[in-house]
Amino acid sequence: MSGPVAGAVGYATAFALIESIGALNQSVVSVALHGVLIVVLLVHGALRSGLGALPAALAVVSLLRVLSLGMPFAGVAAPVRAALVSVPLLLSAALALRLPGLSVRALGLRPRSWRVQALIGLSGLPLGLLVAQVGAGQDAAGGSLPQAAGFALAWVFAGAVEELVFRGVLQQAAAEVLGRGAVLLSSGVFAAAYVGDGSAAAVAVAAGVGLLFGVCAQQTRSIVGVGVAHALLNAAAVLLWPRLLP
């Protein structure tokens, strides 16, 4: 294993370990460890050590957890909180895309085939059923329709921003170091970010969805379809499937 590959795998493993600590009801410890990881990643990234923009991209993912715990407005519902956290996360992703080695153009916001992107986007509907089966979206399912619609809208925004972070920034940065193996790293980190759900099924579904979205984004060179799919997945999991299949 070459130095840069070992570095990429090592940092991803460190992220997964810290997420596991957070899942053991040690949220404050996990914030502190994420902070240390962010400092190490950014210093490493500034010194340009053959990892390209990958350290900065992993720092964006670590920041996700710090912001999710540190953002004020503790009394708001989970979907609203997810949308609130997504605003500074969007800023972070936008700044990361200005770094050497990353570009907005590589996000493929003008895809070659809109039909293919639409098909990928529609995959969010059946995937939403899978996610609803493992327990996501229960908060909204019991509420009124306008409340559930509002929550779904918040989840849609959060889902789209997550795709920008994991497939748009992380996978693009990892591709510089790992080539086609970038999909494995981005889906592994994506799954690790779900360890806090405390369910092996949720992590397995996240790994599968991450792998599927990663391959789609890699093959089509666009995150439009997967962004729509993740947004649709969230909306379907909280609004559609719990009402169709109570």
Partner: protein, 81 residues
Amino acid sequence: MTATVTSATADFLAGTAFADVSVSVGVPMALLLIVLLTCKELLRTVRTRLQPGALGVFDVVMAPLLLTVVLVVVERFRALA
């Protein structure tokens, strides 16, 4: 399905008062901001031959973190009022 707010995150926030969260998480966030700023300035001083734009990696975390820390402080004052 979002990694942003997992069950562990939701449980922590539900079981902890805002005043406690703003200390136990808000203070480490502010410290992280200070450490990153210090590292950035140290690297600027010590490594005079850094590649152009190399220190831009710090802004990726510092800008959103600053925004969030300001929100925490504003909310803390609002809670006191």
